[in-house]
Amino acid sequence: MSIIKTENLSKVYNPDTVPVHALNNVNISFEEGEFTAVRGPSGSGKTTLLNMIGGLDKPTEGSVTIDGVDISKLKDSKRIDFRLHNIGFVFQHYNLIPVFTARENVSFIMLLQKRGKKEIRERADALLDKVGLSKKKDSRPVQMSGGEQQRVAVARALASEPKFILADEPTANLDTESAMNLLDIMNRMNKEQNVTFIFSTHDQRVIDRARRVITMVDGAIHKDEEQHVAEQA
């Protein structure tokens, strides 16, 4: 069974003034363990699609079903709670809590989930080790590079043990080396722990790393193809 399924998903911005049809009748599904890139020209609807799947915005028409739950029908407060327990987010601008250290940033989401103190501490430490930030656990965002901050963001997304992680242009603000490093980490998590990743990008090198590539044009799925990825050394 698919973990995400959209049915006739449409989104119209400003329906009353200058309507923008950002998504037109999108029917698509995602399986557990995917490592998928969404590409397409600027304004093609990548962000809109990810926002719909992530339950951050409501569709104008159609539905988004996650693990059998139609999230477009959930009340706002229920949807927030649903996101907390089911969906991980990585943002283009990292969006860490600036007054918190890396460890606190990763712990915070688990505190929201009301996990035990000991578990939180152990998981936060283990995840920061995994994303290669063993030495930066007590650093605050301003003391870290963009690449490091984004790795904390990935650790934070992983911390809540979501069903999948959405990342809208996670490498757009990173230099090539940091971008590839981040992709390595995401890829490893995907392989080792079967974490599902869906990310949008303009960067061909990032697209090359995905096993499934969805191409959007004018708010519709233009192409949806599997691709073979050479094993990384």
Binding site: D57, I80, F89, F91, N95, P98
Partner: protein
Amino acid sequence: MKTLVNISWRNIWRHPARSSVLIAAIVAGLWAGVVTVGLVNGLMLQRIDYLIESEVTHAQLHHPEFLAEGYSWLSIPDHDEIKNWLENDGRVKAFSFRTITDGMLQSPVKTSGVRIRGVDSESERRTTTFHENIVEGSYLDDDTPSAVIMGKTLADDHNMEIGNRIVLTFEDTNNELVSGSFNIVGIFQSASTTYDERNVFVRSNDLIRQLSDSPIYHEAGIMLENEELASAVVSELNSSFSGIEAQTWRQLSPELSMLVELGGVMVILITLIIMIALAFGILNTMLMALFERMRELGMLISIGMSRLRVFTMIMTEAVILTITGAAAGMLLAWITIRHFSTSGVNLEMFAEGAAQLGWDYIIYPVLTPMEFVAILAVVVVITLVASAYPAMKGVRINPLEASKSA
């Protein structure tokens, strides 16, 4: 909750200068406000205590028309029975009967209209503290015949000194003009120069001798064990004796009882004005903090922080910010008030006119625990109200703010 307090505390110090300025404003505002309240209170209480103790007393009784008309034949009937009653009532601490008439004071320099108050120095000393107002010479207790004490302003006006003589002229109870010569034995200065200009004191026996054939009294001043007994004692006196009217200090001096009520209103008003001014500071700071954190708050809501928690977080931040300042300000104010409650605050340089109006210029600030708690309550309520608006705004933030650039 611990995490929310933690995050709020750190958010406050994200802009140390901005937060410090607000906290400093709250400290200064509350300190000034609470100390002002203490001073206003002190001033009122001192004024009330002083007037009660030196002049008004807790209760007085007169012939019902005496206060309005002032004729010397409007005297207190059955004064011996009343004296007896007062002597035997446990609630009465002291009392003093006075003989009063209006007349003219004549010196070689000029003539002035005065109220002549005949007092018994012994019972008057027990009842009021007026003798403490003597600044030169002595009170009426030595045996100089026909002694008089007069106010400093009046004495200066007439160029009179201790040992000089003046002539007092007044009508006796048969409407005959009588006059007598009196020796100045003391000069007094009460808190009111107007009072000092219009009142002279003689021994009641000296006055009665010229006024009437038998002892007459026009006023009895009564001090009670405490102020709260006044209305009960007054109503008992009124029902036990006819032809007199007893009144409490509140009835006798509406000015004083108005002061008491005004004091209470002032406390609330001063606190409110200061807190409303501070509320705008809190509002402004919190809105600034909110607008520059839209993306962060959008992220928090995106990843699953409930709107209630976001609300609580912003409220906590505002409350911690305010309460830090408020606690410091109130503590400082409390220390200040305590310090000056014994030594007093000398406002002499600002209070040139005060003495003339009968006000002290050394003020002993007073703040009751009740008032302290009331001020605290006002602070807490205003803080919550001022923080609620930014918190409500924070709650409505769209999670999509998280992906907006800049």
